[in-house]
C-alpha cells in the first residue's frame, strides 16, 4: 500500500493542453475521487497515473517509487475500466486469472487469489460463465475482481458505475465503500456524479479545465468552496449567485449591498482581510438556505415563475424585482403557487462571497458545521 504524490503534471494532445500542472498528495489508504464536468481532464489524469497516457511533464510517485516513466504493468496499479473491458471470449475464472498465469504465478496461488476475490465479490458461482451471460452489476464485480487478484498498491476506477441503472448504482456504491474498508488500499475514483464522490470519498479533487479547482473533504467543498467553480459545481440545485457591492466594515466583516437586496448584509470572515477591492463582487447563497417569509422580515421580493415539487421538498424559482433569477427550496407541502408574490430571506452566516476574480473570501462557519468538517478531516487523516 502506498500514497500517491503528483507534482506539476502536464499533458497535452497536440496543441490542446488537457492537464495544466496538477499537484496532488493522496495519502496511503485514502479513497479519493476526481470530480468534474466532461472534458475537465479527470480521466486523462487517471490514465496518466496508470501509465496508459504518456505525460508531457511532471512526475508521479507511488509509495517510495517514482513511476512516471515505468510501463503500466510495472507500476503496481490495477485499473477498472468504465466499460469493464472484460475479455469476452474467456470465462470469469480466466478473466480473473489471465494476467497472473502469464506471469508465472503458481497455479495453487492463482486458485487461491481467484477464490478469495470471488468470495469477497460474491461471484463464486459465476466463475464458469462468459461475460456476455452476466448482468451489468456482475460484470462490474468481475472487472473489480480482476483488479483485486493483482493485489496492487493502488486501485484506479474510471467511472465504474456509470453503465449501471440507478438502483444498482446505489447498492454498488455501498459495496465499493465496504470493499475499500475491507482492503484498506488506496483508491482513486473518477466520476462526474457528485453524489458518488461525496458519499464514497474521504477527499475529493474537483477538476476544472485541467487544473485542480479544490482538493478537500466532501463537506469542505460544500460549506467552504474556495472559488466560484466549486461553489457552482457542488450542490444541487445550484448555488444562487448575484453581483453585489462590497465594503469592508472592519477586517473581519464586509457589508454587502445590491439592488436585489433591501438593506445590507454583513458578511463575517473567518480570517482577517486587509483590503476589499472596489469592484462588483459575487454573492452566493444555496437554495436550501433561502426561506419564504413575511414581507417585514424579508431581504428580497419577487414573483414565482415555477414550482418543482419533488415530494420531500419543493424548488421555487423566483424572478426578483431587480430581474435577477433565484431558486429557493422549501418543504414539500408548502402551498406556494406559480405567479405568487413571495418574500425571501436568508441567514447572513450562510452567505458566500467571491472576489471579482472568483476567489472565495474565507467565511465564518457556525460551530456545528465547523466541527463536522473537522471530524471529516480527522477521519481522512486517520486513514493514513
Amino acid at each position: 500500500m502506498a500514497g500517491v504524490d503528483i507534482k506539476q503534471l502536464y499533458k497535452s494532445f497536440g496543441k490542446t493542453e488537457v492537464l495544466t500542472g496538477i499537484d496532488l498528495g493522496i495519502r496511503d489508504g485514502e479513497f479519493v475521487s476526481f470530480l468534474g464536468p466532461s472534458g475537465c481532464g479527470k480521466t486523462t489524469l487517471l490514465r496518466s497515473i496508470a501509465g496508459l497516457e504518456e505525460v508531457s511533464g511532471g512526475s508521479v510517485r507511488l509509495g517510495a517509487r517514482i513511476i512516471t516513466q515505468l510501463p503500466p504493468a510495472k507500476r503496481d496499479i490495477a485499473m477498472v475500466f468504465q466499460n469493464y473491458a472484460l475479455y469476452p471470449h474467456m470465462n470469469v475464472y480466466k478473466n480473473l486469472s489471465f494476467g497472473l498465469s502469464l506471469n508465472g504465478v503458481p497455479k495453487a496461488e492463482i486458485e487461491e487469489r481467484v477464490q478469495t476475490a470471488s468470495r469477497i465479490l460474491q461471484i463464486s458461482d459465476l466463475l464458469k460463465r462468459r461475460p456476455r451471460q452476466l448482468s451489468g452489476g456482475q460484470r462490474q464485480r468481475v472487472a473489480i475482481g480482476r483488479a483485486i487478484v493483482r493485489d496492487p498498491k493502488l486501485f484506479l476506477l474510471d467511472e465504474p458505475l456509470s453503465n449501471l441503472d440507478a438502483g444498482l448504482r446505489v447498492s454498488m456504491r455501498v459495496e465499493l465503500a465496504s470493499l475499500h474498508r475491507r482492503l484498506g488500499v488506496t483508491m482513486i475514483y473518477v466520476t462526474h456524479d457528485q453524489v458518488e464522490a461525496m458519499t464514497l470519498s474521504s477527499r475529493v479533487v474537483v477538476l476544472n479545465k485541467g487544473a485542480v479547482a479544490q482538493f478537500g473533504t466532501p463537506l469542505e467543498l460544500f460549506y467552504a468552496p474556495q472559488n466560484l467553480f466549486v461553489a457552482g459545481f457542488i450542490g444541487s440545485p445550484k448555488m444562487n449567485m448575484m453581483k453585489v457591492n462590497a465594503n469592508a466594515i472592519n477586517e473581519m466583516s464586509i457589508a454587502l449591498t445590491s439592488e436585489s437586496i433591501s438593506g445590507s448584509i454583513s458578511f463575517q470572515l473567518s480570517t482577517p482581510v486587509q483590503q476589499v477591492p472596489d469592484q462588483p463582487h459575487i454573492f452566493g447563497i444555496r437554495p436550501e438556505n433561502v426561506g419564504l417569509v413575511e414581507e417585514a422580515n424579508s431581504h428580497m421580493s419577487g414573483n414565482v415563475e415555477l414550482v418543482e415539487r419533488l415530494g420531500t421538498e419543493s424548488q421555487v424559482h423566483v424572478r426578483l424585482d431587480s430581474g435577477q433569477g433565484l431558486t429557493a427550496v422549501t418543504r414539500g407541502t408548502h402551498p406556494v403557487n406559480m405567479g405568487d408574490r413571495v418574500h425571501l430571506n436568508f441567514p447572513a452566516e450562510h452567505c458566500h462571497l467571491f472576489s471579482p476574480e472568483g476567489e472565495a473570501y474565507p467565511r465564518k462557519l457556525d460551530g456545528e458545521t465547523r466541527s463536522l468538517i473537522e471530524r471529516q478531516e480527522t477521519a481522512a487523516l486517520c486513514i493514513a
Binding site: A85, Y87, Q133
Partner: protein
C-alpha cells in the same frame, strides 16, 4: 352502393399487390443476373456432366461415364489435383498468416500508416495479366530482378519458371501478392477490437505476444475463418497466374486443376467432361469448406453466440 364497395376492395387489393411487388422490382436486376448467369449455368453444367457434349456435333447421354473416366482412367486428373492441393497447402497458411502479420503491423499508430496501407493494398487492384507480366520479368532467369538481387547477395538464383522444383513456389509467391484483400479484412477486424482490452492486458502485465495469441486472434477468429475459407476457394480456382506465367509447365509441375478443366473445355472441346471436372472441384471445395466450418466451433469465437452447454449453465 354495393358495387362501390366491391370496386374499392378491388382497387385496394391491386394497390396491396403493387406494394408487395415493389421491393422485388428493385432487386430484380440482381435476381435476373443470378438466374441467368449463375444458377442457370450451374444447373446446365450439371446436366452437361452426364453427356458426351462436343462443341460441334452429336450430344449423347453417357450417364456417369465422364466421372468414371476422370477418376479411373485419366492420370492427369489426379496429378493436377495433387498439384493444386500442394499449392493450397502453401498458399492458404501463408496468405492468412502474412495477411494477419501485415494487418497487425499496419494497425500500429505510426507516422505514415495510411501510405503503407495503400502501398500494401495496391497489388490487389492490379489486373491479373499485368501482375503476371511483372512477375515474368521478376522471375526471368537471365535478366530478372530477383536473381539479380540474389546475385548481389552471392546466391545463384534458380531458374524460377523453368525448373520444376521451383516453379510451384514461384507461383505461390506471385499469388501472395494479392494478400492485400486478406490484410484489409483482418485490419478492419483488428480495428473493431475494443482498445480497452489491450489496456487492461497491459495493466496486468500481459506481454505483447500473449496479447496477440490470447486476445487478438480469438477476437479476430470470425474474420480468420472467413479468410481461410476464401483462401481455400481461391487456391482451388488458381488459373490466371499459372496459365500465363508457366502455361502449366515445366513438366506439368504447375498444371493446376483449374487448368485441367480449362484444357478439357477449350482445348479438347469436351464440354461434358469439363463440366464433370467442375462439379468434382465444386464438391471438393464444398467438403473442405464444411470441414473448416465444422472445426470452427472449436476455435472461432462469436460475440453473439451462446453454446448449448453455456445456455444450460446460465
Amino acid at each position: 352502393m354495393s358495387t362501390l364497395v366491391v370496386q374499392d376492395e378491388a382497387s385496394e387489393e391491386r394497390h396491396r399487390f403493387i406494394e408487395k411487388l415493389t421491393p422485388y422490382l428493385f432487386i430484380s436486376p440482381w435476381i435476373l443476373g443470378f438466374l441467368f448467369f449463375t444458377l442457370g449455368p450451374l444447373i446446365f453444367s450439371f446436366i452437361m456432366s452426364f453427356y458426351d457434349w462436343p462443341v460441334v456435333g452429336e450430344r449423347t447421354f453417357v450417364g456417369l461415364q465422364n466421372y468414371e473416366v476422370m477418376l479411373t482412367e485419366d492420370p492427369l486428373f489426379w496429378d493436377s489435383l495433387w498439384i493444386t492441393v500442394k499449392f493450397g497447402l502453401f498458399f492458404v497458411p501463408f496468405n492468412v498468416i502474412l495477411g494477419l502479420l501485415l494487418a497487425v503491423l499496419l494497425n500500429q499508430k505510426v507516422f505514415g500508416t495510411g501510405v503503407f496501407r495503400t502501398i500494401f493494398y495496391l497489388p490487389s487492384v492490379i489486373s491479373g495479366v499485368a501482375l503476371v507480366t511483372i512477375w515474368a520479368w521478376i522471375y526471368s532467369h537471365e535478366y530478372g530482378i530477383l536473381n539479380f538481387l540474389l546475385g548481389l547477395a552471392g546466391i545463384e538464383g534458380p531458374n524460377w519458371l523453368g525448373d520444376p522444383n521451383w516453379s510451384l513456389l514461384a507461383i505461390v509467391i506471385a499469388s501472395l501478392w494479392g494478400l492485400g484483400g486478406t490484410m484489409l479484412i483482418l485490419l478492419t477486424g483488428l480495428q473493431s477490437i475494443p482498445k480497452e482490452l489491450y489496456e487492461a492486458a497491459k495493466m496486468s502485465d500481459v506481454p505483447a505476444w500473449a496479447r496477440l495469441i490470447y486476445i487478438t486472434i480469438p477476437m479476430l477468429s470470425p474474420m480468420l475463418l472467413f479468410t481461410v475459407i476464401t483462401s481455400i476457394i481461391s487456391a482451388f480456382q488458381q488459373l490466371t497466374i499459372a496459365l500465363l506465367l508457366t502455361g502449366g509447365g515445366p513438366l506439368e509441375s504447375t498444371y493446376f486443376f483449374a487448368m485441367y478443366i480449362y484444357d478439357n473445355a477449350f482445348k479438347y472441346f469436351e464440354m461434358g467432361f469439363a463440366a464433370a471436372n467442375s462439379w468434382v472441384m465444386f464438391l471438393i471445395i464444398l467438403v473442405l469448406s464444411m470441414l473448416v466450418l465444422k472445426s470452427s466451433s472449436a476455435w472461432v469465437y462469436y460475440e453473439g453466440e451462446m453454446k448449448n452447454s453455456e445456455a444450460a449453465d446460465a
